[in-house]
Symmetry: C3
Subunit: 385 residues, 3 copies
Amino acid sequence: MEEQLSASKRLAPIFRRYSAAVTGFRHYWYPVAFSREVGKQPLARTICGEKIALFRDGGRVYALHDRCPHRGVPLSMGRKEFPGTISCMYHGWTYDLPSGQLVAVITDGPDSPICGKANVAVPTYPAEERAGLIWVYVGDPPAPPVEVDVPAELLRPDTVLEGVSAVRTGNWRYAMENGCDEGHAKYQHRYALWYFFRENAAWAKDVRLFPSEDGVWLERVRGEVRYSDIYGRLGRWPRRGPRFWQSRNRGTTTMSLRLPCIMRQQQRGWTEYQIYVPWDETHYLCFLLATKWTTGLDALLFRARYHTYIRRLKHEAFYAEDQLAIDLMDTPPEQLYRPDVAITAWRRFCEERARQSPADALAAPATPAAPAAPAAQAPSGAAGR
Amino acid sequence: MEEQLSASKRLAPIFRRYSAAVTGFRHYWYPVAFSREVGKQPLARTICGEKIALFRDGGRVYALHDRCPHRGVPLSMGRKEFPGTISCMYHGWTYDLPSGQLVAVITDGPDSPICGKANVAVPTYPAEERAGLIWVYVGDPPAPPVEVDVPAELLRPDTVLEGVSAVRTGNWRYAMENGCDEGHAKYQHRYALWYFFRENAAWAKDVRLFPSEDGVWLERVRGEVRYSDIYGRLGRWPRRGPRFWQSRNRGTTTMSLRLPCIMRQQQRGWTEYQIYVPWDETHYLCFLLATKWTTGLDALLFRARYHTYIRRLKHEAFYAEDQLAIDLMDTPPEQLYRPDVAITAWRRFCEERARQSPADALAAPATPAAPAAPAAQAPSGAAGR
Amino acid sequence: MEEQLSASKRLAPIFRRYSAAVTGFRHYWYPVAFSREVGKQPLARTICGEKIALFRDGGRVYALHDRCPHRGVPLSMGRKEFPGTISCMYHGWTYDLPSGQLVAVITDGPDSPICGKANVAVPTYPAEERAGLIWVYVGDPPAPPVEVDVPAELLRPDTVLEGVSAVRTGNWRYAMENGCDEGHAKYQHRYALWYFFRENAAWAKDVRLFPSEDGVWLERVRGEVRYSDIYGRLGRWPRRGPRFWQSRNRGTTTMSLRLPCIMRQQQRGWTEYQIYVPWDETHYLCFLLATKWTTGLDALLFRARYHTYIRRLKHEAFYAEDQLAIDLMDTPPEQLYRPDVAITAWRRFCEERARQSPADALAAPATPAAPAAPAAQAPSGAAGR
């Protein structure tokens, strides 16, 4: 029965670019590490399948292709022998951090004829630090300003940001689709400790998605939310109403998505970001962030709150359930249902708006307002119903 | 020298169906678990390469394809939310156990339009319990009665059955051929504790195999058995005769084989079954069973005897040697010898009698009595001598 | 950027035979174990991709293909049931160690018709013991005398030999090229404890390689060696001069290479051999040996010195750095530099002198003295500069 690939065969021609983005979309700035993670020691990363070494020198962060052209050894294993350079651990080939040029070869003397040759320069990547994160541009030059890809609200000086990151198993699209999937929180996460303190819905009517005015975000709203219902002859579910200690949150939680791989969710008094950076075909680099605009004592309190329970309950125990689903998911084939409008809208959003060249980063973003409207409908073609 | 594939090249055209049965023969009932293994928790199995989830509800056992059509998550990870159903752990898609129909989707409300659609029904497998085992039919419908594939003697109400099971490495045919292989017991197992208490033969004359009268079993008999012999100028082997404490068993042990993967061996006062169920290409599900027709106190004594020494000596230590051989075997190529008539006869039995459709299960079984006769000869073509 | 395969595309046509030697060169004697490693228990080896079992009987060592032709089980799992033979653990097929002939099949009786058949003989390998090592010939017959491949100086009766061996990850050519690579010792190993007690050079001028007079070895000499230098505007390196406790060794260390995979390095008062025997495509069998011509008390002192610090500092800690480089290397592509003349000369040496048939073992060895001369030049074609 594994051969019932009809759904995926229908999927491919509709979402061709999304299907092809196995290692993500190029021409974007990606967060690759917390600023605190790159100090005296270099850090090795794989982003969109490209091996990248991060170095800090003189307060700045530099990103180079993580491979010495000589014998292919990772530069992230190297040492800083001279300011502004990195020397490969194997033979001391020494590269200029800003340009990637080979400026000395220790074991070949000052007159080494290979220095400065074009074929031994190491490719560099634009790297910037914003909001406590290191961002690297992966794509063709010229790179757009990093502010094009960092959510504007994170650039405010009073942004307090805490979070965790980890390399996890699974393709980034599984993680992203799980992140924007409206339905599973109501069932799979029901038994997480996080929801022990909160009332959880059974289902939501009229899930709709539409692009933000500036075309950058894809936003999700829900109509009526039902906290319990009667499922025909099967009866009422959940059988038991909310407990007296559970907080009622009958407002609508806003969830938003943006390219290349960012999910934002409004929580009570703070904002959560989940960023699913493509690592390679079968791994992603997951950032789970909690942010708030505040300063002084309240900032301290928010940080304390994060490390006391938000991190443990939401970013560890709760997300372990998400990771389980990502590990177990096995599509295509798939058969989508009504709440999967979020997945379909996200795929279409990628299909229509993912950059195809660096020039797209600066182009007027709001053009496809009309074509994006169908995203607000229930899934049709790909959903197979 | 690995390229001396002449033997296997000769093998393929002769035993074409047997060679192709990498994941076993279809249209059979297979034992998949002990009844006691499926209670409140579902059980996941792979049988003949197909993923199957087992559920118990209202005293009955149900078998469903272990994959939710929505996002491919295994149903064996699910929960029972309503009687007679299983809900997928991810979004609460809820399936009727007997029919596999989607009867509710918790997170899409009572009016979920996807319920009842044909493309979201989960395939079901016929499942029955007999002799303390759960049997599942893998093949095209209609399934024959399970009694066609459960050895008749196991259906007697006074059958006492004990045993162990485990998923093990190796293709099922290696396990089956090792199981029916007459020769290795005399050499490989000689040093097992099991044979410390029993005299072991050196070799047997005139090993012959023939189908039973009803055509269901392939039975092996031996002519003269030698317990020691002189191997030309190499001298006598084994050098030492039997010890005074070793039981002499100069009778002929009867071994029988039947499709799809059952080996039966008469022991002293009880009967052993070894069943090598195909799991996937490189694993098999091994049942090692000890049975006796008895009741009351004698049944209790037999169970005690099993757990005191039969299990430990025969099904653990002794079978560990079999598993070692299965792991080390590396064919083709192969060069068969005289006692391998059992292997050749088994291959021919499969070739001629393995079902090609469910209709074969009910057809007159004894037709190829004449063609099976050559099985009783020493191996010719495939044996390469 | 991984696609810049220009260097390797240039490499392949120049060093065609070297590129093809993924599992090493045939028609050579290889060391496969220390003599002390083969006693009552057989030893399994893979050499040049061929599975070989080593047995000791009556003081001699025998090497057979490690596979019983019956069912493919390794003979190295077998037992000695009769003098001068090995019996397969599975069915007791019994082979004559010198000839590989099947002389008895225990489980088929003295009249087993398969004995003596040609297609059940196990291939044998010539095996000899010299200098405390077991050497096996891998290649077409006739094997040349083992003395053709054992370095002559190891055959002296006053040779004292100590050492370690291990199966390690990586293709044998990476290990060999790392072994003859002149440059990395000056940078990568600078921080090893071995060099804590010794002054280390920064770089060497005029590295040159040339064949020995008898054509058997490829020898490396260096011109001027610099212990510190000024690298343009980057400044002096190493910044600090030698410490008072470091021994100065301003003589020229001689390094020599010979086919199929031997590196010899003159140390102070003793000689080191590193032998990188091809195991399979991704493993090699590494021998690290320390030898000295001496006897009596001095021999004892040398053995004590080896186990006190040479083994620990040089063959364990120091070589761990080499293994790290071998594991990290990732070529092609590659961009060679001036000191890599050693690598290029070695490749050319292999290309011109590796045996293509056993007859080459006895042919006049010094013919290509002139063609080998370019090896002494800086790398040209393959180096890409």
